[in-house]
Structures are given as C-alpha cells and as structure tokens.
Symmetry: C2
Subunit: 426 residues, 2 copies
C-alpha cells in the first residue's frame, strides 16, 4: 500500500474537523428545524434544476467520450425528471420520524440511578460511492435528518453534477442558519482522498461504501474507520418438494426477471427433485419467454431445452456468480438438506428464499440459513428499505455488525447512555 | 506489515471452519439446552479446579522468572477462590435471558407480507486479549449463551492456565453433545495467529480486542474482520457552579479512588470557578487522604497545597492521559462552556460526569457531550455491565458502531429479517 500524499491527508482532516463542528450543531437541532431545512433544500434543488442538468450534460459528454458503457451512463444521468425525483426524495425524508432522541431502553437501578439508552447521531459519516448522483442528495438528506454531517466522495465521472448539487445544498443550509459543512464533497485528491477519508480515525465516525464488489473490498481492507459493508447479492430461490407450482413459477420468474441489475435479484435456482416434474416446465417456459439463459445441471438441461430456454452447462464458478443479467444458475437437489447445505455454502448473506407449503421446511430454512433476509413464499425483490416501509434507504448491509439488511435512518445513529442520580457513589 | 506465515493462516482457517460448523449447531440450541450446558461447564470447572490452579502456578512461575510486574501477576493469578468465582460466573450467565430469538421489530406490510427482525447469533467471534484467564471462561460462557462459537487468543503469559481451562470446557461441551469446536484456544503461531484471526474474512464474523491501548490499536489497524473496540477511559468529572459541595467531594473522590486501574475511573477534574472556593478544599482534603497526586493549574495548586495534597504542574499531555493510578489532572474553568469544550476536546468517549444542581446545565451536558455514558450526579464508576444490571459484560465499547458502552449478551448478536408471504411478487 503506497503512502497517501500528506497534503491530501491534511485537506481531508480539515474537511473532517469542519464537519465535526457542524455535526455538533446538527446533533442539537429539533425535528422541526431539520424537516424545515429538508423542505427548503428540496425547493433549492428544484430551483437549481437547470444548473444541475447542465452540469450533468457535461459529465455525460465526458463519459461518452471516455467510452463509458450504456448502463453506467444511464446511472449517471440526471435529467429534469430525475432531478425532480431527487428533490422529492428530500421531502420524503422530511416526512419520516426522527430517530434521534428515541429512548431505546432504560430502567431505574436498585440504588435509584435512572439509566436510559438514547439514540444519538453517529457524528461524521463518510460515503464512498460510484457515479450515481442521486446518492449525493439521498446521503445528504438522510444525514441531515439523522443529525450527521456527511463527507461525500462520489465517483469522478459524476464530478460536475455532484459539485452543482452540493453547491445548492450548502447554500440552502446556510440560508437556514445551518453550517454548510454539514455536507461536503471531496472533489480533490483523487483516490488518495478516499483513502485519507477511510483512515481519518477519530475524525470520521463511520464510512459507508456503496458500489461494486471491488470498491467495497478496497474500503473494507484499507479502512481503519468503522465500516458498514453494503454488499452483493447471490440470492437463491429454493423450490421445496411441497411447493405450489403456480407460486413457484411466479416467484422464480419475478425474483430473476423483475429487474436484473439489482442486488436483490435471484441468481440461483435450486429445485427439490420431487418438485421438478411439477414445477420446472412452467418455470422454464417463463424464463425462456423473458430471455433468461439457464446455467444448469443435466436434469435442468432437459427442462430448459423442452421449453426452448437458452442453456449452458453449469460451472462451479456459476454457483458463486452475481450475474446481474438475464442469467441464472440452476440445479436439481436431492432434498431440503442438500438445498440448505448449498445455500449455506454459496450465500453472499443478502437474501435467500424458499417456496414451500410445508411448515417444518419453512421453519428449518428460516432458522438455518444465515442471511440478512430469509423469505418464505415471496420474491427476493422484497428485500428493500422502501418495500419494508422504511421510507428511505442508505444501502443494504450484508454484514452482521451494527446493521443487517435494508438500512434507513435508525441505522445512521448510535446510542448514548444517560445516567441521572442524586449523588450515588460505589 | 510483514506477511503472515502461510501455515499459520491455514491453521487458523481450519480452526475457524470447524468453529463455523459448531456455530450452526449452537444457533439452533434452545435456551434450556444452553443453560444446562453452562451449568455442566461450571461443575466441570469446579471439578477440575486443582488442575487449573496447578497450571496457573506454572504460568506464575514463568511470569515471575520473566520479571512481570506485580499488577500483571495479580491479573494472571487464578487460585482456588478465583477459580470458584469463574465457575460461578458461568452459572450467572445461565440465569440471564437468552437474547437469541427476540423479535426486535416487525410489521405486516400492505401486501400481506409479514416481516420481523429477529435476534440471531453473530456466528464465530474471535477474542484477542491479554493474560487474564477469567476472560477465557467469561467469553466461552457468553459465547455459548448467545449461540456463538468463540476462538480465543489469550496472552501467552497465561498459556498453561488457558489450555487447562479450555480442555475442561471442551470436554464438558462434548459430554453434553455439543461440538467442542464451540470453544477453541489458539495456542500456536505466536503473533501471526492473532493476525490471521483478524484477517479471516468470511470465516470469522467479529473480533473483540480486550486489553491496553496498544493491543486495541493493532487490532483496529490490521483487522479486516469487523471489530468492536473496547477502549480506554479518560473520564472527566465536571463540578458545575451550582454543585452541592458534599456531593461533589463524594463523587470526585469515589470516581478517582474507588479503584484506580479500571477504565471507568476518573482521570480529570474540571471545576467551575464559581464553585472552586466552596468545593475544592473538601475535594483536596479527600484526595490528599487517599494519596492522590494532583496534576493541576495554578489555581488548583493553592487548594492542593493548602490541603497537603501532592501536586505537579499540569502538562498538555496530562489532559489526555489515562493515568490508571492515584493521579488526576485538574483545572479550574471559567464556565460551563469552557468545561464542555474541554471535555469535547479530550474525551476518549467512555464516561463523562457532571455534578450540578442546575437543570439546564445537566441538560446541556448530557446533550452536548459525546461519550458512551454521560452521568449527572453519580460516580463515573457506574459505567459497568454489572452495575447497569446486565448480569455479565464482555467489555465496554467506546466506539459508536453496533454497540456503545457496557456490552452484554444482546451485543453478541445480530439480526435477521424473516419474511413470510403467500406468493407475493413485485
């Protein structure tokens, strides 16, 4: 690991110290003050939409010139409609309950001390993400509502858009009497700036990486600041012997094809041998209609070919691949034990689903499979902050520390024990 | 950073894989099964006490020959009485509620999906700690109760004692039909074994370091597995203008002198100028009587010398020093603002206390000071799992992620979302 340029370390430290000062102010704001600021920021984004769209066109032009693939260009795009949606997301965050100040638990001890565990902001949160400018505004809004200052390190491909957005947000904060250092964009220093952010121990309280496996791996390996990993989803759908065939067809198809580029899309299908004959003709027909390529074992080949689905023989690698495309790995398994063992071995800890009519099978699957979300008779696509009713989402955690699964406002807070006495000593 | 010897990496990976298999079994045990096992382990420790004490004498002999200081030898000592206490701690853990299976929150969504967030074990927890053999048994007991397999890397000075204890625990588990790999001691591989443990991503779910600042710093910097830091305590007592003098004397004295070697002992005293004349003569008298050396400013010097307390002029370094001895840094401050600013700058995030009769001062202090525990009119010594009524403690977290303050059984768990539907798709 090479040394980080000292002037970048100092720049990031300065930004973080300013953010810390802002965070102290944010921590004391009332919900009413924060909500009013969020609504004002939403109006400011609407009012500045032309500026944002123009900056975004600059980014897109550079991206096209650099040969960015179409799906990345799409994620980078912030046209007038999407800018409006981004402003509306701020209004949505204003409508959510404030996690700060919630008393999580408390009691009065035998000696009369009153203890209570109260939700408080983290302090300074660093976000390291790729060229998705909507994350810039979402993170700023969720940060403000949860009382945290945010330091944003977005992908350089979105540099002009992010600069325009953050300028609008900072001006909006200042107008409401809130320190603009509540939202800072780290635009200088290249990759070193991200590394300085992840190692600013004592200045930054939490780093959240959002992006591909490579980005997350780098942050986890190099960070000395606490990290919440948001991760990949190698999600399985297990069709049990007792599965209702129509339900199995519908859940497999929806999990795989509803939207392929997302982490809660299904990537693997495991079918109990006793269900194969009843379920697989229908499943393959739907997958074929949607244009899915089945990476399957020899038993799967029969059903795939009969339904006219594209087929490739499965490789060991396929079992661990998050395709994010119209591909699925598929195996027939001998029984529920084999299905659970396969999931335990290959799960990425995101979402695992079973289709079953058997109560004991459902109980075993939910107890034994170790993932952020374990679903019975529902599409994997439901693992999502919006679907769960959280109103907003900062990411989906696939690790076990602090937060697991969809993360929203409470996950951006920590707690503090407040102890009140009248002179107690030990 | 040098490379870790490959055979050590492989050894630790093997241990961790075995622990993972054991963890799957532990996760499914009922509370009754776990409690029965804990009571059996307690009996086994009692029955094997002679063997433990003898092994401990070997460690002590080596320690004395190596010139270990008296306080380390004391922490290393496990005589017959302490062995009984260690066994009783297992019985105590058996009496605590089981965190596993608790439904933390849940709801029924508009589409009929029932979602619930359920507490589940972490999986495999690594403990890296110094030569305190009681931690070996505590960690094994808390791990078992919370459904986690533990991999223990204790200080080599306690090698024989830990080996004897873990042999007893493993045999006891096996007798109850529980995999002995639920508790493993990493006794080989030297420092490389600890480093292999902290970098066993995917095999180890959590590492908890317990020990001095150096150990914790190493683990935080080198670990790629999620870490919960248990940290140092540079705890302040602030005496506000409105403080009751007797209460102030009692809380300052107790916080500093009740037990000096612990992380919740006070290390710094800040006295509002308007309280100095009423409070400091009594405080200094008590500190002098207890043999405390006051590292103070010029105003403190007057009071210290008048009371006959040992005195040294305060240095900048003293403001950040966790003395863990009969020393205290002490300053007179102009007002509450100055006191809060000083605490904000020098807190280690453990415990901060104010003595005040003023409701507004108490509210400001508890709101603005950012620490795991903020106390009003109580001794800093109360930040403790036992005192808080948690029954057991695996450490005190001074960081903000996952757990903050005293950590007990719930802090050794994560959650899983269980979603049940009847065929819902998006």
């Amino acid at each position: 690991m090479s040394t980080i340029a000292p002037q970048v370390v100092e720049h990031v430290a300065e930004v973080a110290r300013a953010a810390r000062t802002a965070a102290r102010q944010l921590a004391l704001l009332t919900r009413a003050e924060k909500d009013a600021a969020l609504l004002a920021l939403a109006d400011a984004v609407d009012a500045g939409a032309d500026r944002v769209v123009q900056a975004n066109e600059e980014d897109l032009e550079r991206g096209r010139a650099a040969g960015l693939p179409e799906n990345l260009l799409d994620r980078l795009t912030l046209d007038a409609d999407r800018t409006r949606a981004v402003a509306d997301a701020l209004r949505q965050v204003a409508s959510l309950p404030d996690p700060v100040g919630e008393v999580v638990r408390g009691s009065t001890l035998a000696n009369g001390l009153q203890i209570r565990q109260v939700r408080v902001p983290m302090g300074v949160v660093g976000m390291i993400y790729e060229a998705r400018p909507n994350v810039t505004v979402d993170a700023a809004g969720l940060g403000l509502k949860s009382g945290n200052a945010v330091i944003l390190r977005g992908g350089s491909a979105a540099g002009s858009t992010n600069a325009a957005l953050v300028a609008i947000l900072r001006a909006g904060l200042e107008e409401r009497g809130i320190s603009p250092d509540a939202v800072t964009l780290l635009s200088e220093g290249g990759h070193d700036a991200a590394r300085a952010l992840m190692t600013a121990r004592g200045l930054v309280d939490l780093v959240i990486p959002r992006g591909g496996a490579g980005l997350i791996q780098t942050v986890v390996t190099e960070s000395t600041v606490p990290v919440i990993e948001t991760g990949i989803g190698n999600c399985h759908v297990v069709v049990d012997a007792s599965a209702d065939p129509d339900m199995a067809v519908s859940i497999v198809t929806n999990s795989k094809t509803h939207r392929t580029s997302v982490c809660n899309a299904a990537e693997s299908l495991l079918v109990h041998r006793d269900a194969a004959e009843r379920v697989l003709p229908g499943v393959m027909e739907q997958l074929a209609a949607a244009g899915v390529t089945v990476h399957g074992d020899e038993e799967m080949r029969r059903y795939a070919e009969a339904a006219g689905a594209a087929f490739q023989p499965i490789t060991d690698e396929d079992d661990d691949t998050e395709f994010l495309s119209l591909d699925i790995s598929a195996r027939v398994v001998a029984d529920l034990d084999a299905a659970i063992a396969h999931v335990q071995e290959h799960t990425s800890g995101h979402t695992e689903a079973i289709v079953t009519a058997d109560r004991a099978a459902a109980r075993r699957f939910t107890a034994e499979v170790d993932a952020a979300a374990v679903l019975v008779n529902a599409s994997t696509r439901f693992t999502d902050g919006g679907e769960f009713g959280f109103g907003a989402e900062i990411g989906i955690s696939t690790q076990k520390l602090h937060a697991r699964g969809p993360m929203a406002l409470p996950e951006l807070t920590t707690t503090k024990w407040v102890v009140e006495g009248d002179g107690q000593v030990r």
